[in-house]
Every structure is written in structure tokens, then in C-alpha cells.
Amino acid sequence: MFEELNDLYQQVIMDHSKKPHNFGMLAGANCCARGQNPLCGDQMQIYLKTEDNIVQDLRWEGDGCAIFKASSSLMTDSLKGKTREEVKQLFEEFHALITTGKIVPNHHLGKLEVLSGVNRFPARVKCALLGWRAAMSALEGDQQPVSTE
């Protein structure tokens, strides 16, 4: 019944949404941020432990749709061990991927590529971005909760 959605809801995405990685509080976190999607009520909290400009560890908690949960889960896997600059670059590559479907040469997306289908569902872009926006805000030390609106 849903052939058109097989691309958006790939098995990897379903798996991550049902059993999200790095889920829960992080003891000893030194930056954290809240994110919310006011239109749908999705909420999340992200915790990062950074040392020497490197994301040593990160975890997240929250509730929302499958795309949001899978994207946040995959993001936490891919940010571990990255420097701030690398995180920023990866965010830009990811943002381009899910808003335009474009992949730049020599990219670092790895598993994040499974989310490329999001670009054909404009209403779902903010679901895929919520975790990322919260992570960027935590790294920048913003006090305000981020909002996708």
C-alpha cells in the first residue's frame, strides 16, 4: 500500500526509531539543550560531553515521530569523536541532503544518507532537523530552547 514511502521509512530508519541509540541521560555532560517542534509537540533534550574541542560522548531523550527519532539516533552515532568544526561541516552536508537531496563530493554523511528521502516530504524536514538543531545549540551554549518554527 505504501510503496512511495519505502524510501523514506527504510528499514534502518524503522530500526533506529524503535530502538534509538544513545538514548537517555548522560552523567557528566557539560553542555545540553532542549529542542521542540511547537506545531506537533515533539520535544527532546540533548546532553553532550566535550573535551579539547571534541565531542567525547552524547545522549538524548525525547518523544516524537519515527523520522525525528531515527534522525536523532543516527546523529548521535555520527557525532561521537568529532571536533566542533567537523560537527558544523557535517550539519551543513546533512542540511543540504534533507532539504535538496544533494550530496556534495567527498562528503562525510556515512549512514546519515538513509535520510535523503526526507527532501521529498517538505513537511517532515523539521522532524529530521530537530535533534541537529538542539545539538548545535548545545555546542554553541545557547540558553534558549531551540524551536523548529
Binding site: M1, F2, E4, L5, L8, Y9, M14, L39, C40, G41, D42, Q43, D63, G64, C65, A66, I67, F68, F121, A123, R124, C127
Partner: protein, 410 residues
Amino acid sequence: MNQPPSLSEYRKDFPALHQQVHGHPLIYLDNAATSQKPQVVIDALSRFYQCDNANVHRGIHELSNRASAAFEGTRERAGRFINASHTDEIIFTRGTTESINLVANAWGNQFVKAGDVILLTEMEHHSNIVPWQMLARRTGATLAFLPVTGDDGLLDLSRLDDYLTSKVRLLAFTHISNALGTINPVVELCEQARKRGITTLVDAAQSAGHRRLDVQELGCDFLALSGHKMCGPTGIGLLYGRLDLLETMTPWQGGGDMISSVDYHESTWNKVPHKFEAGTPNIADTIALHTAMDYLDQVGRDRIAEHDLEIGAYAYHQLERLGKVRLFGPRQQRAGLVSFLLHNIHAHDVVTFADQQGVALRGGHHCTQPLMKKLGVSSTSRASFYFYNTTEEVDRMIEVMGGIQKFFGE
């Protein structure tokens, strides 16, 4: 006597219903957000701009006379639509939200004092919460909320007496909940309030296009509605206010039309209702609202209410049969909408999947975040019906829900 046409025959009047979405026939089940528009309403809009377009209440020329007559004719029609005792009790606004804000300002600023209580219910739309929060901040009044019992979405009327204290100035509540499908007992609530000298406001956004409304029978002091949820255009709605109350209120917006005379340093106000309608009004949409009201009465509001009851109950029952569903709102005597969650599947995913099959649902908090929090959810999926929806469409929706459960392995 001729049999009236079956309600599904009115589908042909709605051009937007006849289209394919993602390769499937559109099944439009987001009527609580906004209804589709019949061709006669679309025609009324373009006819005004093509033939009669002029400003109202100002010119002496023919077109302005026509526009003014049609505009004021809608006020008279709207008065009959809700059985107001005077045409002057109808104030045109952008919709329910603006109507409530008008009361919160023009009535609230004058009559609500520090220490007073504004009583709402736990199932209110943000538009019947936020304006009162703003008024409370301005005046030092506080808000109280009549509780909702739980997933069955009923007001806990056994607590009404405790909540209607001598400090309560206003009781404002929704007739039909857009998030639960609850139909609240307006007559009883207004009567209890009136006995205690408490002013009442009814949010009729979800009921105005779905059943007969008689403000004198309901016994409310104010009533707010939106044209776009009842076959009319967006950007037009109205506030009903009891004439003696409106007379005591001061304007909330200043400008043209609402004055009787202006000096550099002071002005005197126009009469009710004009003193609450500053500036050039939404003329074309107002005139098309007249057509929408005529159209609804031609269909028959009692028939629409009956159809709501049937299709709402049918959808509730079919979802229950489907299983692995959490349903919200009363089991019986519900409005024509169902709010639900498929177990372990988020409402946003449900709505995306349904959309791919041409089924337009709403997923989210439905502008009732405090209620969602109380029920312990962040969102629900909602199917909301109008008289042009059929049980076959409900069956198709249920089939799609079953398909979604299968996809998600539930």
C-alpha cells in the same frame, strides 16, 4: 413532498473534493481545521469583485450603496442564523480568535479586576486560553480550569459548583471540542453561571456549521464563530454579544467607521456594533458568508447534526474494532470527529502515510497543548467530518490505518 437529496449528493457542489492526491481520490477529513467551500460561495466572492466592489458606509454612489446593503444584509442574516434578538448584536471579526480577543479587551479591560477569576475548561483551544492569560496579566486576575475527566473527554460537571465561586467574573468554554469531539452542555453551563451573575462566552467555532444555534435558547452572553469552518471564506467570523453588554463596553481598536465624530484631541464613539469595527472591513468575505449561511440552511443544519452523530459514532466504533488504538473523547453523543493514537506509532507518521493514500488527516496537538499534557500525550491523529463525508470514506480510512499498523509491524 419530495425527498430531500441525500447528503452525499452535495459533494458535487464542492470542486476541491473532486481531485486525486498522490494518485488516489482525495478523502478530506480535516474539516475541523477548515471546511471545503461550495461553488456558490466561491462565485459570491468573485461576483462581488466583478460587479459590486466598493467601500462600505462611505460613498453615496451606486456601487458603494450595493456593497453597504450586501454587507449589512449579512449582519441581518447572521442575526437570524443564530437567532439573536437584535441585528446590532452581530459584530464582524476575522474569526473566533479575534472575537475572543475583542471580548478580552473591550469587556475584560473594563470589568475584570485584580483578584477576579476567569473560569475556562481544560479542553479549550489556545484561542480561548491565551487572550485570557494576557488579560490576567494586565489586570491581576487569575485563571481557573474546569477539569476534564480523562480520555473520555467529558467536563467534570460534579465539580462545577466548586469552581463557580463568587470571584468568577467570566465562564468561557467551547461548545464542541476540536481535540476530543465532546459536545458540552451549553444551556446548563450558561444557566449555572447566570444564576451567579457570571458572564458567559461560548466558543462555537466547531458547532456553528454543524448544528442549529440559538443564542437565546443557549443563554450565553457572548458567542464566537469562524466562517471558514462552515463553508464560508477564511478571514471572516463574528462575535455575538448581548446588546446591553455591548452598550457598556468601550472600543478596542480605533480608526475609521468606529467613531461618530473626531477632534484632534478626542473623539466620540459610533453606535454598537460599528464602534467595534474599526477600519475598512472584510467586505467580500462577509458577503460570501451570507451565501454560506444560506447554503447550510438549504442543506439543513439538523440533518448535518444528525449526520455528525452517525459518522462520528461509526468512525469511533470502526477504530475500536481495528484494535491497538487509543481513542479520545466520549463514547456516546460525540461530534463528527475522532481523535486517536495507533499504539506505538506517532501521529505525524500516521498523517504522512494517510496522505500518501489521499486521506487528509490532522496530526498534532490541535492547538490544545495543555489538554494534551493532561492526557499525557504530545499529539493525536484526528479525522474530522462534514456532511459531504461518507461511511465509505471512513471505511477507506480504517483500511489505510490497518495498512499503517502492518507497515510498522504492530
